[in-house]
């Protein structure tokens, strides 16, 4: 009985080709490997995403919470045709990007979550995701939205996305933009890099374990000061600070 219900609830994934891993040299001289993650790796990813839910800055909290949910959705077979790419340096998790296919011809970009700053890893990972949709899956366009205004503006400027305001995006239906094959081809030489195949030892290292990010974004050091910095006299501008105050009130 239960088995049958599960059959109904579980979407059937289409047999899309996998993302062929690639590698590249970063500004630091380190090597970044971008590859497709497996379902089995979701629990490890969740562990590294969870702390970012509490970083109330640059929409890390919102993006991390949504990525967490999307990862769970994939893990429990509740999201159709989702894929997750991970970017790793020496095994260390540097970025997660995900998306799904709406149809064979249209892709939907979900999120880009960078865990190391200052090396343009987020940009590399986003470009890899676009490459997956357009080059590997052969889709005509990818729908894109963003939570962070500044990140979005950057993509708008770098890729010159087209408006698709009639097509709601799955992330709350905010106006969608589209990266078409033509736009992608124009940006390709400047933004899409990487070499294939990945040398075996590098790939083995990446698959061996997803190690925790070494310097992930963290919440403000002083929560109360951070609320003061937002000109908030009640000391509750940050959700975390509000919790801290509730806790001390409960103790009293």
């Amino acid at each position: 009985m239960a088995v049958d219900l599960e059959k109904i609830l579980r979407p059937v994934d289409h047999p899309y080709p996998p993302y062929p891993a690639k590698y590249m040299t970063l500004a630091s001289g380190e090597t970044l490997v971008i590859r497709q993650a497996t379902r089995d790796e979701v629990p490890t990813l969740l562990k590294h995403v969870a702390p970012l839910v509490f970083v109330e800055r640059d929409y890390y909290d919102l993006v991390a919470a949504r990525v967490y949910a999307e990862l769970l959705g994939w893990y429990h077979y509740r999201m159709q045709d989702e894929y997750v790419l991970v970017a790793q340096i020496d095994g260390e998790l540097a970025a997660i990007v995900n998306g799904r296919s709406v149809t064979g011809k249209q892709g939907m970009s979900l999120h880009t979550l960078a865990m190391r700053r200052g090396l343009r890893i987020g940009a590399h990972a986003f470009a890899a995701k676009m490459e997956y949709h357009i080059d590997i899956l052969g889709q005509d366009e990818v729908l894109v939205v963003a939570e962070s205004p500044i990140g979005f503006r950057r993509w708008m400027i770098e890729y010159q996305l087209e408006e698709r305001f009639d097509t709601p995006h799955e992330l709350g239906g905010v106006p969608s933009y589209a990266l078409t094959k033509e736009l992608f081809d124009r940006a390709r030489s400047k933004l899409v890099v990487g070499r294939r195949p990945v040398p075996e030892d590098l790939l083995a290292k990446a698959h061996e374990a997803i190690l925790p990010p070494s310097d992930p974004p963290t919440p403000p050091a002083d929560l109360l000061a951070a609320t003061r910095a937002k000109y908030d006299l009640t000391g509750t501008a940050l959700i975390l600070q509000r919790w801290a105050q509730d806790r001390s009130a409960d103790d009293a």
């Binding site: 970063l26 200052g118 503006r153 050091a221 000061a225």
Partner: protein
């Protein structure tokens, strides 16, 4: 003129700081007061460029004096573009040298990360000529780019030289716990690998991402004191031996020789004359490398190297911490970060660390004379100052 000594220093980490601006200034000031063993000063000078525009707070000095409970001491804010910091030091110097005050707190602070990077770019660009430059979309990286192109053409500076400055300074910053960037970069990653041009995109051609300083928050502070107070404090005797300042045309295109930075040259000449020393006497320098080209050109204009030869010295490693003329051991603006109003004060913070022999892993051995160059506008308001360890 009385002699003026620096007896206390303090600094915050340069990064994104989620603290009110006045607290950033005050935090560094507390460090400086503690270092000097003082609880009180006669006068405060607070350097800051953008509080009214980007933090909606004017008259910052009053807020800092109050936050530190230093009222009723006099307090003033100095705004002089990216040279605000050194201008505040000069102001404090004159206050002590004149005999008007015995102890002065000089603090610099900026909180630019409160706005996004597009607004920060615009804010910094407001220091250009409003009608002849700003309206066209000129940015500071844009000025640096047009200047770099001429310098490359005339003196044979290449992208590789620029990148070498960036690599050196970001690596120096690894040795500085207060630096903004703790991320080493390599020539391979930003210049040579097949991915380098994507890792290191144009900001303003021919200037790339890693040729620019980052946009940072941060504060730094110094305690300036008369000789009597300095001797009584028991702190190392670091004397402000020379200060020079010069201006140049506001619109960059009006300069007679577009590859000269005359204000740097003139300010340096004044500083050396006042101190009675020569460029070769300087053991360590903090130069204003907001863009990598500037470190090279300033190293020539302050007299360390012949005009047009700065990049050769760089190539030979002379500007590294262990080299003949170490430049920007702190990481410079490139690695340490550039909270504009704080920068001039932070440069001197580093020089004092070096002259005291407290700089740890990045210590320049036996440094006795130091120099700082704080470059305002695109070279239209520059302060060069020198410092000497006594005893």
């Amino acid at each position: 003129m009385r002699e003026v000594y620096i007896i206390g220093i303090g600094i915050t980490t340069f990064t994104r700081l989620e603290y009110p601006l006045s607290e950033i200034a005050a935090y560094a000031s507390m460090g400086a007061l503690k270092d000097a063993g003082l609880t009180d000063v006669d006068y405060l000078v607070v350097a800051n460029m953008g509080s009214a525009r980007i933090n909606s707070q004017s008259a910052l000095a009053s807020a800092v004096a109050d936050t530190l409970s230093l009222t009723p001491a006099g307090a003033v804010r100095v705004e002089n573009g990216p040279a605000s910091g050194a201008s505040a030091i000069k102001e404090g110097f004159m206050a002590v040298a004149s005999g008007m005050h015995d102890t002065v707190l000089v603090a610099g602070a900026e909180r630019m990360r409160e706005v996004n990077s597009l607004e920060a770019t615009d804010f910094v660009a407001t220091l250009t000529h409003p009608m002849a430059e700003y309206i066209y979309g000129v940015t500071l990286p844009g000025h640096a780019a047009m200047f770099t192109r001429l310098y490359m053409e005339k003196y044979g500076v290449t992208e590789r030289h620029l990148a070498m400055v960036g690599v050196k300074n970001q690596n120096n910053a690894m040795l500085n716990k207060d630096a903004h960037l703790h991320q080493p970069i390599s020539l391979e990653g930003i210049l040579d690998s097949p991915e380098a041009m994507t890792n290191n995109p144009w900001v303003a051609e021919p200037i790339r991402f890693f040729d620019c300083c980052p946009v940072s928050d941060g504060g730094a502070a110094l305690i300036l004191a008369s000789k009597e107070v300095a001797e009584a404090s028991g702190r190392p005797m670091i004397r402000i031996s020379g200060i020079g300042q010069a201006t140049d045309t506001l619109a960059v295109h009006e300069r007679e020789e577009p590859t000269d930075l005359m204000a740097v040259r003139r300010a340096a000449e004044q500083a050396y004359a006042m101190a009675g020393i020569k460029p070769k006497d300087i053991d360590v320098a903090e130069l204003h490398d907001a863009f990598t080209i500037l470190e090279i050109v300033e190293s020539e204009e302050v007299g360390f190297f012949e005009k047009g030869k700065g990049h050769i010295a760089l190539e030979k490693g002379e500007t590294e911490i262990g080299g003949k003329m170490p430049i920007n051991p702190s990481g410079g603006l490139k690695g340490k970060g550039h909270p504009v109003g704080a920068t001039g004060v932070a440069q001197v913070h580093e020089i004092v660390m070096q002259l005291r022999g407290d700089a740890g892993e990045r210590q320049v051995k036996g440094a006795k004379n130091g120099l700082a160059c704080n470059f305002g506008g695109f070279g239209n308001n520059v302060i060069v100052s020198t410092y000497t360890r006594e005893g």
